[in-house]
C-alpha cells in the first residue's frame, strides 16, 4: 500500500458494470514528507474519503474481487483507509488529524 492525498473526483456516466455506483476519486501519491510522487491517478473509494484527506491506496489484481465480493472486478487502484496520522522519524507528522499550516 502507498500513501496518497485525495485531490479531486471524477464523474462518469458510461462505465464498466463493476464501476457502477462506486465513488471515483483522483489521488496523488505522496512520500513521507507529503510531497507528490508521480502524477495523480484514479482510485475507487469505499471509505468515504474527502478531498484533502491523506489515504492509504492499494493496487493489485484481484483486490477489488476480495473487497466487493464480485467475480468480475477490473479495478486497479482502491482507497483502503483514511490516514489519521503519519509519524516517521525525521519527517513532519501529517494526516487527517494533524492540523495543517
Amino acid at each position: 500500500m502507498e500513501l496518497a492525498v485525495v485531490v479531486g473526483s471524477i464523474w462518469s456516466s458510461s462505465v464498466h458494470p463493476a464501476y457502477e455506483g462506486r465513488k471515483q476519486m483522483l489521488v496523488q501519491r505522496v512520500d513521507m514528507d507529503r510531497k507528490a510522487v508521480g502524477h495523480p491517478t484514479v482510485a475507487i473509494d469505499y471509505m468515504s474519503a474527502g478531498v484533502g484527506d491523506t489515504v492509504l491506496i492499494a493496487a493489485a489484481p484481484g483486490l477489488a474481487r476480495v473487497v466487493f465480493k464480485i467475480d468480475i472486478a477490473p479495478i486497479q487502484t482502491m482507497i483502503m483507509g483514511i490516514v489519521d496520522r503519519v509519524e516517521a522519524p525525521g519527517h513532519a507528522e501529517f494526516g487527517v488529524s494533524v492540523p495543517r499550516d
Binding site: 492525498v5 485525495v6 485531490v7 479531486g8 473526483s9 471524477i10 464523474w11 462518469s12 456516466s13 458510461s14 462505465v15 464498466h16 458494470p17 464501476y19 471515483q24 483522483l26 496523488q28 502524477h39 495523480p40 491517478t41 484514479v42 482510485a43 475507487i44 478531498v51 484533502g52 493489485a60 489484481p61 484481484g62 477489488a64 467475480d71 468480475i72 472486478a73 477490473p74 479495478i75 486497479q76 487502484t77
Partner: protein, 94 residues
C-alpha cells in the same frame, strides 16, 4: 487507474480470436492538468466510446484481463478503458 485522452484507433485484421470485434484505441495518459505523462499505449474499450478526443480512465496489467463484457470476462489484453470521464473536479490547494 490513470486518466487518458483517446487520440486514435487501431485496425488489425490478423489478431487473437478473442479480440475480433473489439475496438482498439490509442490512449495518451494524462495528469489532472491534462498534460501527457508518458508514452501513448493501445487499450481495448469496454464502455462504447464515441470517438477520438474523449477523456477516459483505464486499467492496466492483471486487472485488464477481466475487462470483457458478456459471458466471458477474460480478455487477452494489458490495458482497457473502464469509463468515460464526464466531469472532473480538482482541488488546487491540496
Amino acid at each position: 487507474m490513470d486518466l487518458a485522452r483517446v487520440i486514435g484507433s487501431i485496425t488489425a485484421t490478423v489478431k487473437d480470436p478473442a479480440l475480433v470485434g473489439v475496438k482498439l484505441c490509442i490512449l495518451q495518459p494524462l495528469d489532472t492538468d491534462l498534460k501527457p505523462v508518458r508514452a501513448p499505449l493501445i487499450a481495448t474499450d469496454a464502455t462504447g466510446l464515441r470517438g477520438d478526443g474523449e477523456l477516459v480512465h483505464f486499467v492496466e496489467s492483471g486487472d485488464a484481463i477481466m475487462s470483457g463484457l458478456g459471458d466471458d470476462p477474460k480478455m487477452p489484453v494489458d490495458a482497457a478503458v473502464m469509463g468515460i470521464v464526464d466531469n472532473m473536479t480538482v482541488s488546487p490547494e491540496v
